[in-house]
Symmetry: D2
C-alpha cells in the first residue's frame, strides 16, 4: 500500500509548515522513533539498575530504529486498542533477538511510551522553534536600531493618530519574539519523562524486578537515558506539561501573529510602507507580490488558540487514565507544534528580508494635512488660548491645510498663529519612541 492510497498527508494544504524541519520532527516517523527511543531507554535503564543484562539494552536499542518498522501497519493495528504501543511492542519484540525479547517494555504501560515519545518529539521540535525565534529577534533588533528615528504614522482603529517610529514598532515585535522564546525555553527545560506503569504507582516495575528494586531509581535512570526531567510524580493524569505547552505555544503564535498582521497591514497597496523580501505570486495576476509570509503568520495565529484550548480542556482527565481526554491531545499537540514551527520559520524569513520604504512613511506622515500632530498643537496652544479655543483653532487650520494644499504651519498663520514652527513637524512629535527603542534593545 502506498502512502497516497493510505491517505498520507505531506503538507500539500499546509504551506505554512510544509517541508519544514519542525514538520519532519513531528512526522509519524519521528513519533515512531521517539517511542522506540523510549522503549530502548527503558531497557537500558533496567540494565543500569542491574536487573536486566546490559546486552539486552544494546539489543533493544539496536532494534529500535524507525525505518525497520511499517508505520502504516502500525497505524492500522493501533485502532483496536486505541493507541499504537500495543502493536509497536509486538513488532519491537519480533525485531529483537529471542533471548532479549522478555526485556522489552518491561513493566511499562502504553501511556509511558506515548507520553515520553511526545516529550521527545516536543523537545526536538522546540529546539528548532526557539532557534528560529532567535533569528527573528536578531533581525528585528537590527530593524529597530536602523529605524530608531524613522518617523511614520501611528495608527489606532485604522486611523492615523500621532507619529511613531518604525524602530519602536520593530522593537515591539522583537520584544514579543523574545517573550515567546522565553516562555518556550522555560517549558523546554522542564519536559519530563513519563514512567509509572498501569496506574502510575510503578508497581509493575517492582513485580518484574528479579530482586528488590527501588523503582524510583529506575525512573531516574530512565529519565537520564532520555535527557528528560525526572518528574516528582508520574503524570498520566496530571497534565502540567501539556498545559504548559499549550500556553507557551499559543503565546508564541499570538506573538508572531502580531508581526504578521502589522506587516500585512503595512504592505497594503495604499500603505506600502513595507514589503516582504520575496512576496508570493498569483496564479491569475502576474504583477502581484503578495505578503505571503505575513498571511501565513496570521493564519497560524487563528489556529493555535483553538488547538491549545483542546489541550487545556484535556487537563480535566479523570481517573488514572481518562476516557478521551488523553487521546484528544495527540493530534492537536502535533498540529500546534507544526503551526508554531511554520510560523517561526516564516517570521525569521520575513524579518530578515523585510523591505522598508521610508519615503512612503514620510509621505504618509502628511496624509492628514497635519491632523496627526493636532494632539500636540492642542496641548501647547491650550496654554495660550485655553483648551476649547485651541481645539477650534487646530481644527480650522487642518481643514484649511487639506483644502488648499498649504502646509499646516501656513494655515495656522492664516488663523493668526504665526509661530507654530516646529510644532507642526511630525518628525518632532515622536515623543520617547527613540528612547524606548534604546531601552527595549538593552534586553537580550
Amino acid at each position: 500500500v502506498s502512502h497516497e492510497q493510505h491517505g498520507a498527508d505531506t503538507g500539500l494544504f499546509s504551506p505554512a509548515w510544509s517541508g519544514s524541519e519542525v514538520a519532519k520532527r513531528t512526522s509519524d516517523a519521528a513519533f515512531l522513533q521517539a517511542m522506540l527511543d523510549a522503549e530502548a531507554a527503558l531497557t537500558r535503564a533496567w540494565a543500569t539498575v542491574g536487573h536486566v543484562p546490559a546486552e539486552a539494552g544494546r539489543a533493544v536499542t539496536e532494534a529500535a530504529s524507525a525505518e525497520r518498522f511499517d508505520i502504516i501497519s502500525l497505524a492500522e493495528r493501533a485502532r483496536s486498542g486505541g493507541n499504537p504501543v500495543i502493536p509497536l511492542v509486538a513488532d519491537l519484540m519480533a525485531a529483537v533477538p529471542a533471548q532479549f525479547r522478555e526485556y522489552v517494555h518491561r513493566g511499562a504501560t502504553s501511556q509511558d511510551i506515548v507520553d515520553t515519545g511526545l516529550m521527545l518529539v516536543t523537545r526536538r521540535a522546540l529546539a528548532v522553534i526557539v532557534a528560529d525565534l532567535e533569528r527573528t529577534a536578531a533581525a528585528l533588533g537590527a530593524l529597530a536600531a536602523a529605524h530608531r528615528d524613522t518617523a511614520m504614522p501611528g495608527r489606532t482603529l485604522g486611523q492615523h493618530a500621532v507619529p511613531t517610529t518604525f524602530g519602536l514598532k520593530s522593537a515591539g515585535w522583537r520584544s514579543l519574539a523574545l517573550d515567546a522564546q522565553g516562555r518556550l525555553n522555560a517549558v523546554l527545560s522542564g519536559l519530563p519523562a513519563q514512567l509509572g506503569g498501569a496506574a502510575g504507582t510503578l508497581a509493575a516495575f517492582d513485580a518484574w524486578a528479579s530482586v528488590d528494586l527501588a523503582a524510583l531509581e529506575l525512573l531516574s535512570a530512565y529519565a537520564r537515558e532520555l535527557g528528560l526531567v525526572e518528574p516528582a510524580l508520574p503524570w498520566h493524569t496530571l497534565r502540567t506539561p501539556i498545559g504548559d505547552l499549550a500556553g507557551a505555544l499559543a503565546f508564541a503564535a499570538g506573538a508572531l501573529g502580531k508581526l504578521g498582521v502589522d506587516v500585512f497591514t503595512l504592505s497594503r497597496t495604499e500603505i506600502a510602507e513595507v514589503a516582504e523580501g520575496a512576496g508570493g505570486g498569483s496564479s491569475a495576476m502576474p504583477h502581484k507580490s503578495n505578503p505571503v509570509r505575513a498571511t501565513l503568520l496570521t493564519a497560524a495565529a487563528r489556529q493555535a488558540p483553538a488547538l491549545a484550548s483542546v489541550l487545556f480542556g484535556a487537563m480535566a482527565a479523570e481517573d488514572e487514565r481518562p476516557g478521551g481526554a488523553w487521546h484528544a491531545e495527540w493530534q492537536p499537540l502535533r498540529e500546534l507544534l507544526r503551526v508554531v514551527g511554520g510560523a517561526a520559520r516564516d517570521a525569521a524569513e520575513l524579518a530578515e528580508g523585510l523591505r522598508v520604504d521610508t519615503d512612503k512613511m514620510e509621505r504618509d506622515l502628511f496624509l492628514t494635512g497635519g491632523l496627526i500632530v493636532s494632539e500636540r498643537l492642542t496641548a501647547q496652544l491650550s496654554a495660550r488660548f485655553g483648551r476649547a479655543e485651541a481645539k477650534a483653532l487646530v481644527a480650522a487650520a487642518s481643514q484649511r491645510a487639506r483644502e488648499t494644499g498649504a502646509s499646516l504651519a501656513e494655515a495656522l498663520r492664516a488663523e493668526g498663529v504665526t509661530d507654530a514652527g516646529d510644532l507642526t513637524d511630525p518628525h518632532r512629535y515622536t515623543g520617547e519612541a527613540p528612547a524606548l527603542v534604546d531601552r527595549a534593545l538593552h534586553r537580550t
Copy 2:
C-alpha cells in the same frame, strides 16, 4: 525523498480515523485529485459554452489524474505563493499536449480551484459519514426497540435518580444520530462550486473569451460538470458553506460524543451495564477490555468544537481574499472531516456490537435500597399524609431497607404503610419511557 523523510502523516497518532475511508477521501492525494477535477471541469465547461475546443476538455481531463503528479514537490513549491495551485497549474500544463496548454486554468484564480476542491473532497467524505450515521441509527433503533421496557437506573449528576429504560436511552442516542445526519445532509445538498476569478467578478472569463460570453453561463456549466450547486455569488469571502460545515460537523461530533460518554460510563467496572462488542486490549494488563470506541468518540467530541471555532472565526474575511482567514481554514476543515468521519465509523461499530447486561441493570435498580422510587412514594403518600410527613416516612424506610437488607416494601410496612405494594417496584416507575420510545422510533 520518501514520505517518512518528508514528514508524512499516516494516522499513527490518530487511531480514531487511521485507515478509514474518510481519511482516504481527505488525504493529500484526494485533495490533489479534487483540484485536478476542478481544473478539468473548468476546461470542459469552456468547451460546453463553445469557447475552447472539445478536445481541450478531453485532454485536460485525461491529464488530470493525481497519480501523475508529485505531491511532495507540489507541497514544497506551494510555500512561496502560499497555496498549491500555482505549481499545480504549471505541472498540469506540462502534462497536457502543447496545443491545449493555453486552455488550462483559463480565467481562474487559485481560490476557485482550492475552494472547489475542498467542496468536492467534502462531498466525498460526507457521503461516507452520512452512511455511517445511518448504520448507527439503524443499530440504535434496534436496541431501542429491543429494550423498550428494560428498566435501569436513571442517573443525574452521577447519582441514581429515578428509573428509566435502556430503550429510552437508545432512542435518545438514535435521535441525535438522525439529527446529525439531517444537518449534514442539508449541508451536503448545498455544497457550491467556486468560480469568480481574481476578485469574484468573473471578469477574466470575459477577457479570455474568444467572442462575447455570458460568464454566468460558464459558471453554470462548471457547476454542472462538477455536480456541485451553482452559487448565486462567488463566495471567496462569503464563507457561508464553511460556516455551515463547521456547525454541522461540530454538531455531529457532539451528538456522537453523547453516545460515547454514555457507553463509557455504563461500561465502568462498577456499573458494567453495557460493554463494547470488541473492546480494546492493554499493553500491560491482559485481562482488560477497554471501551475504546467510546473513548475515541469522546476524544472526537473534545476536538471538533475547537476546529469548528477556527472555521467560524474565518468567516470574518476581509476584502476579496483575506490575509490569513482563508489559509486558516484548510487544515481545520480537513481534520474536522476526519475527526467526524472516524467518530461515525466508531459509532456504527459501537452501536452494532454493543452488549447489554440486563441482569446488571436489574441489580443496579435496587442499589439505593429503594431511594430510586422515593420520588414516586413521596408523591403518592403525600395525598394520604401531607408532603412533609410523606417525605419523612420514605426517608426512614429507605434507611431501614439499606441497613437491614429488607425490601423497601417491608421497611415501609414497619413504618405502618402496609399497602406500598407496587409503589416500591422500580420496574413500575419508568413513566412514559416505553411510550416515548415508540414515539421516537416513528421518526425515520
Copy 3:
C-alpha cells in the same frame, strides 16, 4: 445589598451590547421571569389536563412576576444546589396563596424549568436579532442597488487585484446577513419546551396525577401554553437545540464580522472609501472619527466562535443529567446571544449610516498605474502576441505609466500597442459584477 456591592454587571465593559434590547431580554431579571413563566405554564397545563384547579393556574401565574422576587438572594441560594430553581420554587410557593402551593412545580425537575426558561429567553432575544438583521439587509440592499456599477479596487491579500464594484461588495454583505437571518429563523421556529421530570421519563407527572394521566398530554399542553415546540423526547441530555443555537449564532457573528472587517479596512486613513455615519471619538485626539461599529463587529466575531465551542462541547453530556456539561452552557449561551445581539444592532446602524466616497474609489482605481487591469490586457494581447510577450508588454507599460505619470494607454502606445483604448479603463473591467448584483438582489 446594592447591586454594585454584590458585583452586578451592567455592560460597562461591553459597549457592543450595553443598553441593547437583547441585553435586557437576556438579563438575570429576564431569565428569572422566563423561569417563572415556565412554572406558571406548568401549573396551567396541569389545569388544562384537568388535574389541578384552574384557580391554581391563575394564582401561580399571578405570583410569577419577576419583580416580586429578590434576584440577589436567589443567586446566592442557587449556589448550594448548583442551580437557581430550588430557591426559586421555595420563593414561588411562598408567594402563592397557601391552598395552591402544592400545585407549584408539580412533577418537574430543575432542568425542566431552567431549559424552558433558556428557550423562552432565546426566543425573545432572537426576535430582536432577526429584526435587526432584516434592517441590516434592507440597508445593504439599498447600497448594492445604488452602487451596482460603482467601480473600486478589488483587493486580495491586501493588494489591488482587479476592479470590482461597491455594489457587489454590498450585495455580498447582504447575502451573508440574509444567510444569518435564515439560519436563526430556522432555529427560532423549532425552539422546544422542556419537560421530562427527574430522568426524562415523565414518571413524576403520572405519580402526582390524581387520576390516570397520559403525561404526554401534559407535555403538549405545557408547550402550547409557552408557545414553544413540543419535543419528541425530553432533551435533558439530547442537546440538539443548544447545538443548533451554537451553530446559528456563531454563523451570524461571522457573517456580520465580514461586514465589520471590510468597513474597518475601507475606513483606513489611506483608503477612506467608506466611513461610518457617526464614528466614535477619542479621549486624546479630538479630530479622530473611529470606525467604532466596525470594530465592535470584529470584536464580536472574535468572541462568538469560542462561546459556541463550549456549547458544542457540552453536547457530549453523560447520563440523564451530566456533571458539568449542562452547567457550562448557561453563561456562554447568554453571552453568545448578547454578543450577536449587539452585533446585529451595530450592523444595522452601520449599514444604515454608511457614507461612501465614490471619488476616493475612483482615484484608488488608478493607484497601481494600470496594473489593476493587467490581467485583462494580458488575456487580450495574448491572442495577438502570445502569452509570454503579452505579459512582458504589459509589465513594461505599467512601469512606464507609474514612472512618467502617463496613462496606461499612452504607455502602451509607446510600446507599440496603439489601440489599447478601452482595455485600460478599469471601469470597463468590472466583469459580471453588475449582473451579479442584480442576481443577488432577487433574493428576498
Copy 4:
C-alpha cells in the same frame, strides 16, 4: 432606571461564582474603581514629577470614588466611542474642583486607563484565587498524608487496572493546585501598568509638560503609585500580560477540573468512595446529595479554555490599537477570572469537606475477583512458567474466582499454584504509591 430593567447580571445563572469575592472584585463597580484609581494615580504621578500641583493629585484622588459615578449612564455613553473612558473622563472632570480639571487624564489615551484598570482588577482578583488555591493545596495535602497507604482501585479507561492509594490520588491533585498557584503567582508578580498615550510613544506627556520632562520618569512614578510593574515598553498592542494571563488561568481551570472529574466519578452511586461534605439538593428527589462542587469545577474547566482562546487570539493585534482584538479581550478576561475564581472557591470547600469511604474502597479492590492484581501475578509467575502459561493460569484462576466466589489465592491453588499468598493481596500491590506521596509532599 433600576438595574433589573437595564439588564444587570448578578450571577443568577452563575452559581459557580455567584456572590464570590472574586465576582465582587471583577464587577462593573470594581472595574470603574480601578479605572478611577488609574486616573488618580496619573495625576499624582504628574505631581510627583513636579508638573502639576500636589493639590491636583489630592483633588482627583478624592473625586475618584466609584460610588459617586453612575455606572449605567457610563455604560450607555460608552457605546459611541466603544469604551467607557471618554464619558468617565467627562464625569471625573465634573467631579473635580474647577481649578484642577485640566489635570485630569493629562496626556493619556483611553487604553492607558482601561488596561491599567484591567491589571488592577486582575491583581485584586488573583490575590483571592491564589489564597483559595493555597487552602485547597493544604486540605489536599492533609488527605494525601492521611491516606498515604489507603489502597483503592486504580482505573484506566473506566476499568479497574491495578491498585493505587487514595493518598497518591490526593497528592496528585495537590501538585496540580500548587502548579496552578505557581503559574498564577508568576503572572501576578509581573502585572504591568499601562501608559503610552495615543500611539504608545508617550509624546503627549511631553507636549503637556510645563517644562522639559523625561516622560519615562512619569511612567515610573505612575507604576509606583499603582503598585504595578513598570513595563519596558507601552504594551497597547504587545499583549504579553494578556497572553500570560490566558495561559495561567486556563491552566488553573484545568488543574482544578481534574479534581472535579475525579471527585465526580468517585461519588457515583455505584462507586461512592468519596462524597462532598455538603452535597447539593434536588428540586425533585429529596434523597439526593449531589456532587455539586465537583460538577461546577468540571463546568469551569469546560469554559475556561475557550475564553483563553479568545485572549490568545487577540494577541495578533494590528497597528498601535487594533480594530476589534482589544475590545474582544474585556468580557472574556473578566469571565475567565470569575470562572477560575469560582472554581478556586469550590475547590477549597470541596477539598476541606471531602468525606472518604475507605470501606467502600476496600470492597472495590475485590470487585474484579482478583484481576486487579493479574499484572503482578503474570509478572511473577512468568519467571516460573514462562509468560504465555503464566497469563493463561491467571486468566483461568480469575474466572474461577468470580464464578465460585472463592478468593483468587484459592482459585490459583486449584490451578496448582499453592504459594500465591501475598501475591493476590491488592494491598500489597500499591507499588511506590506511598513513597511517591512522601516525595510529593516534600514540595511546598
